[in-house]
């Protein structure tokens, strides 16, 4: 039972962790919190689900969905963040502009696909594995693996490469970083693209266990933001860890309530957001 809760908690936490990482990488380079990160997750889910319903192969739908959230991340920087930072580098106007984008994306999705929930392709959620008596779907296992790979990859780049150190330098003093030859705008675009990519990947990983819904971004955005706050806004790795830990408690709660649920109710998922 404990192993089951741990595995489920880790899988959920990995998604929150990826979301926290999406927030943190953007902040790490630009000192901006992209409050539309949750909506980027929603974008990848909605587009993947729509393409899948249209009859495209799952892999194509997934790739286009993740690409869409990546491009949306870049567009958020170019249209909602860069103009306000150009006007005043020290202003917090990005707080309002990114929240505005979140509302726009959510509303657009509701207009295009309707406000109700629809199905999402099962992807790898059909297959289950048993580890020490606990069951875990391949999708959940993949979620944990992806989170670990992203975490280790990010820390390696940050600590071991000049590229990672340059990110830190840009974050600390963008003007001086520019005076040593760094393309600050290019880095910011890359950070928003990676943020969008991670949110999109998180969407694909969580999609099969939830529905495609235009308002899904709020939930995961908030959970990711909480993980970021617990772990530390300047420590993406800690934010990822905080995401995993913070998910274990809701997982235990969900398990407990699942045992009290009447027979026949939907109880196969351990994901608290479902």
């Amino acid at each position: 039972m404990l192993l089951q809760v741990l595995l489920s908690g880790l899988a959920i936490g990995a998604v929150y962790g990826l979301m926290a990482m999406a927030f943190a990488i953007v902040f790490y380079v630009t000192r901006v919190i992209n409050f539309a990160t949750g909506q980027l997750l929603m974008v990848s889910i909605m587009i993947t689900a729509a393409l899948s319903r249209a009859g495209l192969p799952d892999i194509v739908s997934v790739v286009v969905g993740v690409l869409a959230s990546t491009v949306a991340g870049v567009l958020i920087y170019l249209l909602a963040v860069r103009p306000v930072l150009r006007f005043d580098r020290f202003s917090f106007a990005w707080l309002v502009s990114t929240l505005g984008v979140a509302i726009v994306l959510q509303s657009l999705a509701a207009i295009i696909w309707g406000p109700t929930s629809r199905g999402f392709p099962a992807l790898l959620n059909r297959d289950n594995l048993h580890i020490g008596g606990a069951g875990i779907s391949v999708q959940e296992l993949l979620t944990i693996i992806v989170a670990i790979v992203v975490l280790v990859g990010f820390e390696l780049v940050r600590r071991r490469t000049l590229f990672g150190k340059l990110g830190q330098a840009i974050s600390a003093d963008p003007e001086m970083a520019s005076a040593i030859g760094a393309r600050v705008t290019g880095f910011a675009i890359a950070a928003f693209a990676i943020g969008g990519l991670l949110a999109g990947v998180a969407g694909i990983l969580v999609g099969p266990i939830t529905f495609s819904n235009p308002y899904l971004g709020d939930t995961y955005g908030i959970f990711g933001f909480i993980a970021l706050m617990i772990g530390g806004i300047e420590r993406p790795a800690a934010a990822m860890g905080a995401g995993s830990c913070s998910a274990s408690c809701p997982s235990v709660r969900t398990r407990s309530s699942a045992r009290r649920r009447p027979t026949g109710s939907r109880s196969s998922s351990s994901w608290p957001c479902c």
Binding site: L162, K165, L166, Q168, A169, A172, D173, E175, M176, A177, S178, A179, I180, G181, A182, R183, V184
Partner: protein
Amino acid sequence: MSAESTTPVIAPALRLEGLYAGYGRFDVLHDIALHVERGEAVALLGPNGAGKTTLLRAIMGMVKQRRGVIEVAGTDVSRLPTHRIARGLVGIVPEGRRLFLGQSVEDNLRLGGLHLRHDHARTAQLLRSVFDLFPVVERYRARPATALSGGEQQMVAIGRMMMSDPELMLLDEPSLGLAPLAIQSMADALLALRERGRSILLVEQRVDLALQVCDRIYVLSGGRIVEQGAADDIDGRGRALIDAYLG
């Protein structure tokens, strides 16, 4: 064709002509004409608010010029973004050093040579030249930049600029806030750079330091060049005049 006609004309390290620049709608610099020959060290003196830092920022592309010419080693940099200017054309030691304090001394230096990062041999050579000039920096290479004294941080800042191997070196009040001993070490380092044939534009308030290090001086006041001449020609009267301008 004669030998004379085939000799290429070497452009000065820096040429400013009729330069106007400022912030918002207001010009800080008016009709600036200045040049730094290759291998020459030139001082820019002036009181607070004269526009010295703005002039350096305009050369780096951090303040957009409204009119005039900014050429570095024959390249027009007036329309180039800062990061392009910083890649081998101009290196700067800004006022207050502005090291990346969260990083080690060596990381700060390597970041200075960003555009040469794929040329490992050149990077190693430049790093060696920094360590030769500042042995103390080599000793503290693994330490965080925050753990160094003001004078040592200034050495790292100069080293970071050297790592980009620029055509022109800009230094903005490098003696500011340093102890007398550290100021002398810094002056020695600047003299060593000049002997290595580097082109330097030094902004200073300390006239004695500027005269010790530089070949020529310009005096900036109210955003205009008001005096210029060879450092060797500055006699007692000229010195008094400069002191008067510096307030």
